[in-house]
Symmetry: C2
């Protein structure tokens, strides 16, 4: 983009087209409820409408926006107030505009020098969040620890595991078959990304222990201890425990305090995955989710899930940043510079896997500034309150049963007619386009997950969706 | 964002503020040349201006935009026409707007169902690119292979290595010390992310072989063969070779054809990293960079470097997608759905590390549509031509010497007064704010890298910067 060059979009054209795109997005949000939440297309429907060959000659931007009509039927509307699948990806106006500024500036914050503001704002805002959420001070940059933005919780867990591995092997994980002896532990309800991380790190599925859960789907510390003892007897080396605060299936809370004590006793890295639940700690009354974090070596939560900051934005804290940097840092000549040599700054490329880094703290900073702590708290409280009301409705209907505790904003329920019926009901709801919910299995039962957390969801939306679920279940009978 | 809810930005406000942000970005590009290219702040300068405490009460969006005045001095201007450091991150109007639409829609394309258009457009556009760049057909989705967008080349290389490791160990890399026997090879000029990937994968630096380069900084196939033979004799298992087309230090081209033959002979995975160079193949006359790709198991290039698509957008092709999916796929109950079960679609979460995925193909699609093949070709040709002219200027000045071939758009040169002088010269240039260039070392010489590739760079910009370099060098003397 520039003022004059021929093939590029001129800034005047950018203004005009940019205003149109902004209006297009505003119109989208004004009408988002009119689309089927789950895309109703069949495999190949979108592709078959795209030209086989790319254009030789460029198109006007007006035509390009027109072409969005091909794309839209293939969108599943994550920003619909009736999106209750998986966990939310709740975005907001200031987040979209903050990300737009970041895209516009087009900087790559791989090291401090390549945009000092990118590194310093990230560190600053992540320090703010430690205070806002009453997390342990060891995660702040003025201690030995610090925070960094990763793309997803998958990457955060992987980075935690790699750091644990390098710490346990003193950087020699591949020697003398060390990797083959390392053992990682998590509950059978933990996110699949933990298993993926164990595979990536070369530790292997065979050396992954799935700890049993109690009747609330929380990890049993007694079983963890038992397996650690057994592994030690077998000459293996326990190096990593991932506790989950708010599991994906049912938002179960692992007893981090008890787990932490065991990790301390056996000198095992404790990572706490609170990808969805984390932002609840913005409110004093929900800080039970922070219990035991004093034992954590690393901690993760995702503002892109439930803190109004668009995807991707996953926060990763570590209690000892030197261990993380030792794991991730490789310094070739072409990346050296005087400021980095002086060690007076952080180079965040050494805090994660990719070298290049977007200016992601900008959107997070602008979201916090726009809502303020009080606005973010109200957002969380509104969802907690709505969830309570919805839960009462479900409880009071004798055709349905709730099958797991609801500590946060996910309700797990089923129809009393059993698995096949519940599955059929869910399919009908999703095919209607009126709402999108997903399922899980708990104790071999097919469960509908009703996840609340979208920005624009109101109690009226929940009422409408719940009524439709009840009505549909009666129709199926 | 919605029409009415209290704490959130209303769509009418979003329109107003969005137009302002668009104009802010347009103004930025209109004036980008007036900023010092390399940020001139000292460590802590930006942070010290940020409030210690996050706000309790939210701010207006007008104030938030005002606050960008704190940030701007801490920006290094990657989009300046005088940015010649590292490699470019050339963006464009249609890319920014395409990414904005993606941010606005806020979808997460982790599986086909969660937004069919996100998966199908990505596959379609990456098939287009195979044709546009005359890459081997095995990388297209209608063969056994396919393409996927990763965040960076670091991740692409890692994913390639992991797939090679799982293939070589039949999924049992952690058993019987297998990881400790695996050997990876790349040239001493390859990108540091290869070494990082080897570390992450648990293969370890000890098992990483740095192959010697010839006088053009290209990998010596004879040395590769020699080390492979030695490793085999020592009972080790060569599993991975990364060849580079356009190294970071000097855009050296490894002889992929010869390397590929060796990989085929010994059954070793060949990954080709063309992160910067790749887009040159849009033009028929530069397709020498594709030489030997028929041997490649995987291939990577970054449209976010030199194809007008903003960061992050790194393309990863694989010749046999089943090997990639076997490496990356973990399927928990809560991610299952009927369409995925039918295997009629791709679930791109199984093609990389993160579960969550932005709708990144949208910006790439819109860039290709806006410029057309011919516009993109002209963009590449303009840069190649400018580089040639600049090289003539440098060559004709007897105070400077060019120390490496210039196959693409990076010129490596030094002042004849030696290392200390050249370093001092570079520091002065960067401190002036008039241009930003970075350095490397080649044969123990301190080298200035003059990298061309920014969207708005013209021959006049290059002339001005070159004149300034010459003038400054005389002043230092």
């Amino acid at each position: 983009m520039n003022k004059s060059k021929k093939i590029h979009m001129k800034t005047e054209e950018f203004r005009k087209q940019g205003h149109k795109v902004i209006d297009w997005i505003a119109d989208y949000y004004d009408h988002v409820e009119e689309y089927p939440v789950l895309s109703q297309v069949k495999p190949g429907d979108i592709r078959s409408q795209l030209p086989d060959e790319p254009p030789i000659k460029g198109k006007s931007h007006d035509e390009i926006i027109e072409d969005m009509n091909i794309i839209m039927p293939g969108i599943t509307h994550w920003q619909s107030p009736n999106f209750h699948a998986f966990f939310p990806c709740a975005t907001s106006g200031p987040a979209i505009l903050g990300d737009l500024i970041s895209t516009g500036l087009g900087v790559n914050g791989m090291s401090w020098e390549t945009s000092p503001a990118c590194t310093e704002l990230e560190t600053h805002v992540l320090d703010w969040l430690v205070d806002m959420m009453a997390l342990p001070k060891k995660f702040k940059s003025n201690s030995k620890g610090g925070g960094v933005i990763q793309d997803t919780a998958s990457s955060s867990s992987l980075v935690a595991l790699l750091t644990a591995r390098e710490k346990a092997s003193n950087g020699k994980s591949n020697e003398n078959g060390a990797n083959g002896k390392f053992i990682a532990y998590t509950s059978s309800q933990a996110h699949s990304s933990i298993e993926k991380a164990v595979k990536i790190a070369g530790i292997g599925k065979k050396n992954m222990r799935m700890i049993n859960v109690d009747e609330h789907f929380s990890m049993k510390p007694s079983h963890l201890r038992q397996l650690i003892e057994q592994d030690l007897k077998d000459g293996l080396k326990p190096i990593f425990v991932c506790a989950t605060v708010g599991t994906t299936s049912s938002t179960a809370l692992d007893p981090v305090n008890e787990i932490g004590k065991i990790c301390k006793e056996y000198d095992i890295w404790l990572h706490v995955d609170a990808a969805m639940a984390g932002p609840a700690a913005l409110c004093e009354e929900y800080r039970f989710i922070n219990e035991g974090l004093d034992y954590a070596d690393s901690y993760n939560f995702n503002p892109h899930k439930w803190m109004l900051t668009n995807f991707d934005c996953s926060i990763f804290y570590v209690a000892d940043r030197s261990q993380l940097i030792n794991t991730m840092s490789i310094l070739p000549e072409y990346l050296k510079n005087k400021t980095s040599d002086s060690e007076s700054v952080f180079d965040l490329r050494d805090w994660g896997i990719p070298l290049g880094r977007r200016f992601r703290s900008l959107k997070l900073w602008q979201v916090i500034n726009y809502y303020g702590i009080s606005g973010l708290q109200q957002f969380i409280r509104d969802h907690m309150k709505m969830t309570k009301t919805l839960r009462l409705w479900i409880e009071s209907n004798k055709d349905f049963e709730i099958v797991a505790p609801t500590p946060l904003t996910l309700i797990c329920f089923r129809h009393i007619n059993g698995n096949a019926f519940t599955e059929r009901l869910l399919t009908r709801i999703n095919e209607s386009g009126k709402a999108y919910l997903t399922h899980t299995k708990l104790n071999d039962q097919f469960i509908i997950r009703f996840s609340i957390g979208q920005t624009s969801t109101t109690i009226e939306h929940l009422k409408k969706t719940w009524d439709y679920i009840v009505k549909t279940s009666r129709e199926i009978i």
